[in-house]
């Protein structure tokens, strides 16, 4: 196990090296090429970005690190909430569907879910805004909190910040703004979790110990809770990486649709203004976050399910 973790960390360091090379090339591609000071420049550049010294944004003339602290937490909270929601909903319904795979109703649910996830998330978001915000007036159309609420910037995440103010008006406004983007974002990962959990629990439900439990007269709820849930985790865990990756791509688009002040809007304006410092920072920070998450998930799989390693990870 220790050998595995050490190898994983070595690979992480190597990938980090490749990432800094790419960023360095992005950084110097417009300047004059000077082979003599290339290594020294690279070391200086890497040292400064590792220490969090990202330079100044040409758009807002603010230090990039300051903008990062403002925008990154609100993206992460969106990802976090939709991930939790989709994992809960997708796994529970997936287990129910796997245990009752002959049910016509659940087959219909599967078909509808597969069809829904084929539609692009930005289009679904806009349609939801048109239906629920403009026609039914249930939720606000855009933004992350009402303009009338005064929330000081503490962590950057509007959820935590408005809870810290302890004002029920702020919290209500925040929840109203949060609900629609989170639901729109959750469609895709929820379907993926649903399909994974359904297939895995169907495979497990044909095994002898489940038949034994059924013939003992256990209820389906007990089966799902005690026997199935923990046994399908190893087949879901390696897929979480790719689900998170897709979720982030969707988050950028949904932020643009809902005008949620997160990294999505930050990056797309940086591309429009060719704001290199912002772009490099965003790529560096997000890639590091994703690399660390992937490594953590791999190591978790190794620690908790060592027998699955050869099948799932293929290092």
């Amino acid at each position: 196990m220790l050998k595995f973790i050490a190898r994983r960390i070595l690979i992480l360091l190597f990938v980090f090296f490749v990432l800094t090379i790419i960023l360095f090339w992005m950084h110097i591609r417009l300047t004059e090429f000077d082979a003599e000071r290339l290594v020294r420049d690279y070391l200086y550049f890497t040292g400064s970005i590792v220490r969090g010294n990202f330079g100044i944004s040409t758009g807002s003339k603010l230090p990039v690190i300051y903008e990062l602290k403002m925008y990154l937490p609100s993206t992460l909270e969106l990802i976090f909430f939709s991930f939790v929601l989709s994992f809960a909903v997708g796994t529970v319904t997936g287990i129910a569907a796997g245990l009752n795979h002959h049910s016509v109703f659940l087959k219909g649910v599967t078909a509808v879910l597969r069809l829904t996830t084929s539609f692009p998330v930005f289009w679904l978001g806009q349609m939801m805004i048109t239906i629920f915000a403009v026609e039914l007036k249930l939720v606000p159309t855009s933004g992350n909190i009402s303009l009338f609420c005064e929330v000081p910037l503490v962590t950057g995440s509007i959820f935590i910040d408005s809870l810290l103010t302890m004002d029920p008006e702020n919290i209500k406004s925040m929840l109203n703004h949060l609900v629609l983007p989170v639901i729109v974002l959750s469609f895709m990962p929820a379907t993926q979790f649903y399909l994974l959990a359904r297939r895995a629990s169907f495979t497990i439900s044909e095994m002898d110990f489940i038949r034994m439990a059924i013939s003992r007269g256990q209820s389906q709820f007990f089966l799902a809770r005690k026997h199935i849930f923990l046994n399908i985790i190893p087949s879901i865990l390696p897929k979480i990486k790719i689900i998170l990756c897709n979720l982030f791509s969707a988050t950028i688009l949904v932020e643009v649709v809902f005008e949620w002040p997160g990294t999505g809007i930050w990056i797309s304006t940086a591309v429009e203004h060719s704001d290199n410092a912002v772009l490099e920072t965003a790529i560096f920070v997000l890639a590091i976050i994703f690399l660390l998450t992937n490594t953590l998930i791999d190591i978790m799989g190794e620690v908790f399910f060592p027998e699955k390693r050869r099948i799932n990870l293929n290092i």
Partner: protein
């Protein structure tokens, strides 16, 4: 096809179709995909369609079945008075052909790299090659497109290049796993002892046996590529005006959603149905090719 007819030996294609048509949903997906491709790529050759001519007197016409619509413009016109149906078909041709281009180039490069690293006995070297692409795998596809488009310029071919780069690791990893699974088998060892070269081993033994994995992966990647191309068009970094493309048509329709909502709804439905058909066909092909190995629920 009847089983009583024993004098006829079924070809591979007939066997494939026999099992493919057992699922109604997959057959519907195939028919829909065929219709979409026909309408997009064949009809413009026979009907005079002009997606570029502007007619300022006929701006924002609704579809012909709504009051005020004209049959000359079946789906109405956009904000410059251009025929919406022509733009939809030309945009679909752009979206689907560039997505296909991106997928096929990613597939060729990814499969070559996957096989190379798979049959390489040098562990460190093959591990380094595979994991240097991990950074792409870790980064979301939209982010890669942002990088490529900001370095080059925002045009459709550059977007296709970016999407090909983002699809590459997916092909490398699946091909590598399939090759590793295949290469320990005895017939490969026998071929190796007979003195086959690496090229012969690859082309005659490994590629035919991992073809099912590659095919399934190809269809999944194709659906992702269509979605990504339209997403980039939506962000305004793909096709540039006046070139029609489904994603950029969608964003210009979104601006008009409270004036004429058909301009925003129709491209979205077109993208959704295309992706649904592609993934359904991929699902069916995967079901038939892995029959017996895996239960497709």
């Amino acid at each position: 096809m009847k089983y009583q007819n024993y004098d006829k030996v079924l070809s591979d294609r007939q066997i494939f179709w026999h099992f493919y048509k057992k699922s109604t949903a997959d057959v519907i997906g195939l028919i829909v995909l065929f219709l979409i491709l026909t309408v997009i790529f064949v009809i413009p050759y026979f009907v005079n369609m002009d997606p570029y001519t502007q007619d300022i007197t006929k701006r924002l016409l609704p579809p012909s079945w709504v009051d005020g619509g004209e049959l000359r413009h079946f789906l109405g016109t956009d904000e410059f008075g251009r025929d919406f149906l022509s733009r939809l078909l030309h945009g679909g041709a752009n979206t689907i052909s560039y997505a296909f281009l991106a997928t096929i180039s990613a597939a060729v490069a990814g499969i070559a790299l996957g096989i190379m690293t798979g049959i390489d006995r040098h562990h460190v070297r093959s591990s380094l090659v595979r994991h240097s692409f991990d950074i792409i795998f870790a980064a979301p596809s939209i982010l890669i497109v942002f990088v490529v488009v900001s370095i080059l310029s925002p045009t459709l071919p550059h977007t296709a290049l970016a999407i090909a780069i983002s699809l590459l690791p997916r092909f490398i990893h699946t091909t590598y796993n399939a090759v590793k699974h295949e290469i320990v088998k005895d017939y490969i060892k026998a071929n190796n002892l007979d003195g086959s070269s690496y090229l012969r081993l690859t082309m005659e033994c490994i590629v035919p046996n991992i073809l099912s994995v590659i095919t399934i992966n190809f269809w999944e990647a194709f659906a992702v590529a269509v979605l990504d191309i339209s997403a980039i068009g939506y962000l305004g970094l793909g096709a540039q005006a006046p070139e029609p493309e489904w994603g950029s048509m969608l964003i210009s329709g979104m601006d008009l959603i409270y004036i004429g909502n058909s301009k925003a709804i129709i491209p979205g439905i077109a993208i959704g149905i295309t992706i649904a058909a592609i993934s359904q066909v991929g699902h069916g092909i995967g079901r038939v090719l892995t029959m017996g190995e895996k239960k497709w629920l």
